[in-house]
Symmetry: C2
Subunit: 315 residues, 2 copies
């Protein structure tokens, strides 16, 4: 998208064979088949060539690889480069947010220039130029405005937001909610159940975001409501799909083994539940997913417990 | 559902033939085929027999018929009857909320006992006992708690809320949002567009609800987010379906003429836009639907205008 907007783009691939294939084929056949990589994009496996002198460094690696990658990038960051990440999830085991991992690794001179991009942004649709809206969060308004101007175009509308913690927590939790919706689908529940599950899951996510100093508007915005809707109602979401298999009674290990794809919702469930317990926040739906995935509870029993909670007010 | 919970239920039908058919067939074949009406339910076309002495009067007529029906019910309301309505929409032309129409008609002695039930509650799924959550709004906490106890069961979870105006505005606006989503589907847009459209439509709905003294939590709750998700992603929603036909270039009159069903989103668009203009609230998505339905704008042009608005912050 940036290359089509006339920007000079360098694309880094970890494996030299992958970089060579993309250079030859002008396409990333494993992950975004059918979308041509513009001729002006240089694909390289040489991190120095990719990052050196870049005005903006975009990091969209999986959560477990961000710290290692950032450590390699750190010495190459120019004095005024902006760092934009699009990683959805929390760092495994430490359960830190990605911008915190980046700030840890890149150091205090860079940490003020770290931003996150999130929202309902299926890559296939962005690549086809279908109308898309995205949220860009950064504590520094000037950085946010520069990135909004860099990324935005008539098909890709970028909203700024200062609430980095809120956006990152929403991005991690949405895959837990997608697992929960998939489990409901596997149990044969209908549209009423799914809509209620999403709504109440957003209410408990809001309690966690609030505890981390985040804003209600973020949870009600593109990174929260928007991305949750896109993920939970999509036939393509692998988290929703994995939940459906589990809801039908399949074993977690068997579901994971049946696909080469990473089911991010599985570590995200550990992460979100860990943060909730640490902060003393009540998150019954995420706790329920945790019991199903890691404590051997049958989904029907989890549902009965959720529906049997004391009757209450909406907010 | 109430009859299955052991309540004494009387069901009123406007047309004597409809009452006779339901009594004979123990089923409402035109509107809820396949769901048997329990033998304890008395079906009648005699309003006096239906309402006289009732502890709770449930009104779920279409918005345009509520005032006339309430005028007939008014002399029959017992001193302490509760009034619960489930009508989604605004009264045509006056664009008053349904609880306001009921209070106007039933008078000041009754007005404190009027409540509204809303949320993602497809009747077919409630009838099949699939897990459902609902919101019950009433200014009087005691009334709300009585109705919560009356309605709730292990498959039907009722949340109370004091924000009657917010719940009613959400219920009317959700069919406008469903039309907008359908129009996007008709134009061939994808999951990103739909998720963004819903999220931004909820943001503008929040501005209207706030102006009417309502609460953010209502828009983020079952009547707002929940019902919008259920309506906009359902294949069964006739408002989404009508929008899709319009998005494909069909004429509004032809779409309306092609179905015997009422497309509530059409009057609701006039109503919501009328309230927004009166209150000076910016609702670009609802205004866009209004231009397409009533001002002859082509959907592609509406979309271009929406995407071309000045870039902004999320909230």
């Amino acid at each position: 998208m940036l290359a089509r907007q006339g920007r000079d783009v360098r694309l880094w691939a970890r494996r030299p064979e992958a970089a060579a294939r993309m250079t030859a084929e002008r396409e990333n056949r494993d992950y975004l088949r059918g979308v041509s990589i513009p001729p002006t994009v240089q694909v390289t496996a040489d991190l120095y060539r990719a990052v050196e002198g870049a005005e903006t460094i975009v990091i969209a690696a999986i959560a477990s690889f961000v710290r290692e990658l950032a450590a390699d990038v750190a010495p190459l960051v120019a004095r005024d480069s902006l760092i934009l990440h699009g990683t959805k999830g929390l760092e495994p085991v430490t359960w830190r947010r990605i911008s915190v991992v980046l700030a840890d690794t890149l150091g205090p001179l860079v940490s003020g220039r770290i931003a996150v991009l999130s929202g309902p942004n299926h890559a296939e649709e962005v690549a086809r130029g279908l109308p898309t809206a995205s949220v860009l969060a950064c504590a520094d308004d000037g950085v946010a405005l520069r990135l909004q101007r860099l990324l935005g175009n008539p098909h890709f509308r970028v909203y700024t937001n200062r609430d980095v913690a809120g956006v990152e927590l929403c991005s991690a939790a949405k895959n837990v909610i997608a697992l929960a919706c998939g489990i409901g689908d596997g149990l044969g529940y209908g549209d009423n159940s799914k809509a209620a599950l999403i709504t109440r899951a957003l209410a408990e996510l809001w309690r966690l975001v609030e505890r981390h100093g985040g804003s209600f508007a973020t949870v009600a915005g593109l990174a929260g409501v928007g991305d949750v809707i896109a993920t939970c109602t999509s036939r393509h979401s692998r988290n929703r799909w994995a939940g459906e298999r589990i809801g039908r009674g399949n074993d977690l290990g068997a579901v994971v083994a049946s696909t080469p794809m990473v089911i991010e919702g599985i570590p995200a469930t550990r992460g979100i539940v860990s943060l909730a317990r640490e902060a003393g926040v009540d998150m019954p739906i995420c706790e329920g997913v945790h019991r199903i995935l890691f404590e051997g509870q049958r989904p029907e029993d989890t549902l009965r417990e959720l529906m049997g909670r004391e009757w209450t007010a909406e907010a």
